[in-house]
């Protein structure tokens, strides 16, 4: 369990209260979120699922502190982000949220190491500490020997691992994963799923996965079903297990990948 999880006052990584978002496009008003209420406890691994048009992307933007609600409250790590100014919001995202994208969003001209340390650079983390953390995290995701490679020569699974290491570098309050396995084949996708589960169980990372992949969602603790801008139901993941998944050691995954 992380320090944050033990902190009684901030038991929740995320809380939303009657979250509304209305987009105005000319004469048309789109009511994307119509009162979302959700809570994510520290150390939880949950998923948000829903068909297209359910407001999933809009909710994702809110959870990522990339956009502000029209009405209602969103409290991340004890802070109501609707009131934060833009430049504070940047700092907030930098320190409290780790992003994982479907398309990895790595900078191809830079090395793996540089990509991972990007959030730490703008934070102003001392170089020595930064390099040490990068290496430590690359070891965790099983890319300890690939720090000086360029992302373009890595496989899709490896690229997503780089992105996961990047998401972890500033020790965020939670990780927000947007379709993390969407661009990967089944086998590699499963490996990334296992890595996320392992991070949650071994390191106590709070993770929110936004996906339409029900199989992936089923492996999380809770599944929030979003429909027409509201949480329609909330059910526990059926394949969620309190034990560790089978292939989860970085070394094992590495060798599994080499065999494939």
């Amino acid at each position: 369990m992380t320090q944050r999880a033990k902190d009684g006052e901030k038991a929740f990584a995320i809380e939303t209260h009657d979250l509304h978002k209305i987009f105005v496009a000319g004469m048309v008003k789109v009511h994307a979120l119509r009162g979302v209420n959700m809570k994510v406890r520290n150390g939880e691994l949950i998923s948000v699922v829903g068909p297209s048009g359910s407001g999933k992307s809009t909710l994702l933007n809110m959870l990522g502190a990339l956009d502000r609600p029209t009405k209602g409250k969103i409290v991340i790590d004890g802070v109501d982000i609707a009131r934060l100014k833009d430049h504070i919001l940047s700092v907030f995202r930098n320190r409290r949220i780790g992003f994982i994208f479907q398309t990895y969003n790595l900078i191809n001209r830079s090395t793996v190491e540089k990509n991972v340390e990007l959030p730490a650079i703008v934070r102003g983390m001392p170089k020595k500490l930064r390099k040490r953390r990068v290496q430590e995290l690359l070891n965790v995701v099983g890319l300890g020997d690939k720090a000086n490679r360029k992302p373009a020569i890595l496989s899709g699974g490896e690229q997503q691992r780089v992105a996961i290491a990047r998401a972890l570098i500033n020790d965020p309050a939670f990780i927000l994963a947007d379709e993390p396995t969407g661009n990967l084949d089944t086998k590699t996708g499963a490996e990334i799923e296992n890595l996320l589960i392992q991070l949650n169980k071994e390191r106590g990372a709070t993770i929110v996965i936004v996906t339409h992949n029900l199989e992936l969602a089923d492996k999380t603790q809770r599944i929030l079903h979003l429909r027409d801008g509201v949480i329609e139901k909330e059910i526990p993941g059926t394949t969620w297990s309190s034990g560790l998944p089978q292939i989860n050691r970085p070394g094992d995954m590495d060798s599994a990948m080499r065999e494939s």
Binding site: G64, H87, V91, R93, N94, N105, P119, V122, R123, G124
Partner: protein, 413 residues
Amino acid sequence: MNPLELIGLSFGALKERRLRSGLTILMVIIGSSLMTSLNGLGGGMNAFIEDQLGTLGANVLIISPSGMQAGFGPPQETGKIKLTSQTVRTIERIHGIKDVIPFFSGYAVIKSGGKEKSVQITGMDQSKLKYISPKAELESGSFVSLHDPSGIVLGHNIAYPSDLDKPFVKRGQTVSIEFTKVESEGGREKIVVERKSFQVKGILGELGDIFVDNQALVSLAAANDLFEKGGTYDGIYGITRNSEENDEVEGRIRKIYGENIGISSPKAIAETIQEVMGTFGTFISAIAAVSMFVGAVGIVTTLYTSVMERTREVGLLKAIGYGNTVILLMFLTESMTIGFLGALLGLGFGAIGAYVLIEVLPFGVGALSFSPRFLPMDLVEIFLISFVLSIVAGLYPAWRASRLSPITALRKE
């Protein structure tokens, strides 16, 4: 954020688009090097003109017959005054005039040892040369006396032409001088060549003044005879007691002769030339300024394209906590890098370019050659203009980048 890290990130981005970055730097180089070259040429030319006119005495008025109208086509005499010994006596008596030096001049060909050279020959009282050209001195020999019919003193460049490795003539040698004139005989014009022998009495030291250095001097009588002037002078140098009185003395001469006489002074000539040069310089600088402006537009285009291509990258950076200011500075650093390299290389290429231009353009003819002159303050100014213009050019693309939404990073392609 550490500025060095910022520079590192910007360098990476520029390196990724090597060709495009290189071409943009080239655009800046063209602007700043053109500015540098032209500045060096202008400086060199100004210094050259000052040198030339500086060898002439400051208290000299050049009096010429009746305002020769310079312009297109052959010069036309508009006045009625001939400069004769009577004129000389009149001017001599004017208050403020210390001395009067009348002269004849004409073009002739000097032949020596199978080679020939076309020169201007001036007939004057050579003992008074020091009033007109204070720095003129004999390198060897002596001046020609007042009535010597066949003695000649040669300017340095005639005796030692730059295109010959041996002297053209030596002191004591006899040279043949040919003067070509048109004679009218029974309504028909014919060309007559007059030939006379002269003995080289002296050679002038090198002065750096193209007029004196390329001049041959004979006595007044010899020139009158050779060019068949019949006692009508081509000009009179009026030496004033004090150069500050030049304008007043000029006024007194005008009172007598009105506009039928031409009066100028080295100072006035210098001012006229510098005025023309100034106009020319402004025109050239305008061209250089336009090319600098084009370079700046190049930076806008390159960076703007780069921002558009890197929308996702910028979105990602913003999502992971890079604020508007950091993004703005990142792109500004890119334009600063382009500007810095372009401006610096431009100075170097511009300096080289000035020397190349002198070789290529028709400035460098024989004695008229001069070297570019660069003033450190001008170079600093050109560098700063170029550099600051690049930063200004980067502002808009950088601002656009800083306004990009972080949500773009989440967009699926």
